[in-house]
């Protein structure tokens, strides 16, 4: 079984400041890792994913994340945030089995950007 812990339920930052949203996971097997964003009253949109290869993954809207296997972490970062980044962010994992596409999500981190 897998589980995901997002260490901060809310993160307030000022516009143009850097931000890091933290994610730790637990799994007895190797996993794929994802970050999704949810804007108010909308579904989920994929920001980025780690499947294999380089541990630094770049996604849309200037976000990036680093996979750290020894610390079982997959923190999301952006060097300079914009008002439009205000949203809920979810970290998720899935198993490696082909077709085992069940996603296990964390509780979410609400990112609020202040002008």
């Amino acid at each position: 079984a897998q589980s995901v812990t997002q260490l901060d339920s809310q993160v307030p930052v000022f516009e143009e400041a850097p931000v890091e949203l933290r994610c730790n996971y637990s799994s007895s097997v190797s996993v794929y890792l994802f970050w999704y964003v949810q804007y108010p009253n909308q579904g989920l949109q994929l920001l980025l994913k780690y499947l294999s290869g380089s541990t630094l993954v770049k996604g849309i809207n200037g976000f990036e994340a680093e996979f750290n296997k020894s610390q079982t972490s997959f923190h999301l970062r952006k060097p300079s945030v914009h008002i439009s980044d205000t949203a809920e962010y979810f970290c998720a994992v899935s198993g490696l089995d082909q077709g085992a596409q069940k996603l296990v999500f964390g509780q979410g981190t609400r990112l609020t950007i202040n002008p």
Binding site: Y36, L44, K102, G108
Partner: protein
């Protein structure tokens, strides 16, 4: 290319009633997964359908059932509704053999049980 569509957008039901939610997957996708997102929580996996069969199921009671049609669209049925079933229900589509492992989510159906 239309993405994942869900209907209805909003729904209000009374305790004990039954509800059916619908999902059309993204073009080219053959697998549909359903998730329940309670207010302030992350989505929780309900079940996944492929080739009209339930492939995986999360920790949800038998009151939750589903169906997938030959055109890959899917329905989620919930019987004997409880207040706790109030949530945003998300449908996600993917290709079972997709190497990119990406699931595309619809906008969701918000169910309110009174």
């Amino acid at each position: 290319d239309a993405g994942v569509t869900q209907s209805p957008t909003h729904l209000i039901k009374t305790r004990g009633q039954q509800v059916t939610l619908r999902c059309s997957p993204k073009s080219g996708h053959d697998t549909v997964s359903w998730y329940q997102q309670a207010l302030g929580q992350g989505p929780q996996f309900i079940f996944q359908y492929y080739e009209e069969e339930e492939r995986q199921r999360g920790n949800f009671p038998d009151r939750f059932s589903g169906h997938q049609f030959p055109n890959y669209s899917s329905e989620l049925n919930v019987n004997a509704l409880l207040l706790g079933d109030s949530a945003l229900y998300l449908c996600a589509s993917s290709h079972l053999d997709g190497r990119n492992r990406e699931q595309y989510f619809g906008p969701g159906t918000r169910l309110t049980v009174t």
